[in-house]
Symmetry: C2
Subunit: 339 residues, 2 copies
């Protein structure tokens, strides 16, 4: 098979503030043939996630930044075109980390083969992938909700938040979402079964949140920061837990924004714990067993927001940072042979 | 024995901002005779502690506020004058919670008899009392320092901070203090054996703290908040732990002050946990055994700042909030028969 090329979206420059389309370039690059242990894949789905804003910022973080000229990182579901890796054959569907490009050569050892009969292949990037596992370990291992407690989650209609609230319900807790649009709030309550959902863009957030949480807040799964966190701080119960997963409202800030006053943490004995899902890979087996089962039983629902065409990835990613997506945001880069 | 009277300091009004002498009144009140199960005590030492600022504020907290006209709360070491409680006899020295007054009638069941041969009786209010136990449970149960890690503590020459650093050293960690005066810093390093101490009032705190913590910060025992916390946030290592014990720099704020930006907690997977020592009374036995032993061995030193005369309590308390005390602040209300 001849050497192929890959259409790639590379970083032109580290964005300052909200990323703009001009911070990205679409290029076409030749790919080497796969060496021993490697496979050539074509990308079917590219996952777009808030953490990518940190990776393209050039600032210190928990991972190497993406530098100008480099392909932007990201999880992908692809199909094997050519394999020199044991256990993988052309036609196989795999979960990988090939980034924002149409084709890639990758080590077979880093790929997980997906069985389209078990679940739609796109779920490996969402409810049964990193976002779902983020919800699972953050809520259960740090938040530790007990039956009857109130769990609040921000970005409630998103990939992580929608799973947090549903898992909280499965565990017998009361689930209250916070989202930025009426249709998102309606979806979270009517489709996902949350007990309530508050629109942070309308009215007095602290007051509406208080009305939605008459027993206070025991667990706050934090995805956004800013004003939402400040409102939550006034409602925390004693011994509340805050799994700190993300602070998307602050990711485009050009200077460090102040955080909430911490006194409520003190007298309420509150725990805050930052976490990164990749530290919790030992929980993968339990996560897939539990969440896979709940998805098959219809108890853990998900919604995908699929954009078609790699060239639309920058625009879709900017929309994600602005809260424009509705559900797990994916780019369909190539044909899905299972649909 | 006739009914006696008690000289008392009562709250005149809830202070706004830094308390002033005019927020307090010195009064003399008759005391009832002790009933069955009660004792009459005279106060020897009154403990002054930062948490009292919260109690006199009138605001919601973890305990009932002190209202105008009420005696201000506080731990005391006293001597039994008259007893109708089993196991307590006139002359006994007891640890109680009689507040800012010269005499009190209290339930015998709430008192702990002290043995002056075991340790100076004033230590029951300091290194072997609530402040010492706060250091012990906050550092060991939440901070969990490992040998070789760096532990930073603010208010390092105070009752809690001085114990935190010394216990960190006993556990094999590196101890770095933060204090507000050169003589306090010198004391912390030369007398208490901390590895370094930074004066937060001179120079660029973030830079001097960075120089004192070349390996970053693994545990930050928080007593003060404000600018000190902001400087610490820039130096936290991955998986750092922050026992949140106090925020004294903010206790007199008349409006809610912003806190630090929380992004460093996220990518460094940091834990913050607010705690109140009274939740941890189950650890009392281990605390007294460990810290009592370390005090007797000379490995856990302490310093007392003793003011004489109940009428000076308001002035001394205001000085505490301004960082004027040097060591555990006590008021000698009556003669100490053991010295």
């Amino acid at each position: 098979m001849p050497t192929t090329t890959s259409r790639q979206i590379v970083l032109r420059r580290h964005p300052v503030g909200m990323p703009a389309p001009g911070d990205f370039d679409l290029v076409e690059s030749p790919l080497p043939s796969p060496k021993d242990g490697e496979v050539l894949c074509r990308t079917i789905y590219l996952s777009l996630d808030p953490y990518m804003r940190g990776r393209i910022s050039g600032a210190r973080s928990y991972a190497q930044p993406v530098e100008p000229g480099q392909v932007i990182v990201g999880a992908t579901v692809g199909q094997v075109l050519e394999s020199r890796a044991a256990g993988l054959a052309p036609g196989d569907i795999v979960l990988g980390y090939d980034g924002w490009q149409s084709h890639a050569v990758a080590k077979g050892a880093g790929l997980r083969k997906l069985d389209p009969k078990q679940a739609p292949i796109s779920t490996a990037l969402g409810v049964l992938g990193m976002p779902g596992m983020t919800a699972y370990v953050g809520l259960l291992d740090i938040g530790q909700p007990r039956a009857g407690e109130t769990v609040v989650v921000s970005a409630a209609s998103g990939a992580v938040g929608s799973a947090v609230g549903q898992i909280a319900k499965i565990k017998g807790a009361r689930a209250v979402g916070i989202a930025g649009a009426r249709d998102k709030c309606d979806y979270v309550v009517r489709e996902l079964g949350f007990d309530a959902c508050v629109n942070y863009k309308t009215g007095d957030l602290a007051a509406t949140l208080r009305a939605a949480c008459p027993g206070g807040i025991d667990v706050y799964f934090e995805n956004v920061g800013g004003d939402v966190l400040r409102a939550v701080m006034t409602l925390l119960n004693q011994n509340a837990r805050i799994p700190l997963c993300g602070l998307i409202s602050e990711y485009n800030a050009t200077e460090s924004t102040p955080g909430p006053n911490l006194r409520p943490l003190l007298f309420n004995r509150v725990l805050i714990k930052g976490f990164i899902v990749s530290d919790h890979l030992a929980r993968m087996g339990e996560f897939l067993k539990d969440c896979g089962g709940w998805v098959r039983e219809g108890r853990l629902k998900y919604r995908e927001d699929i954009v078609t065409g790699l060239d639309r990835a920058p625009e879709a990613f900017i929309g994600l940072l602005q809260g424009k997506n509705f559900g797990k945001l994916l780019v369909r880069v190539g044909e899905d042979p299972t649909r």
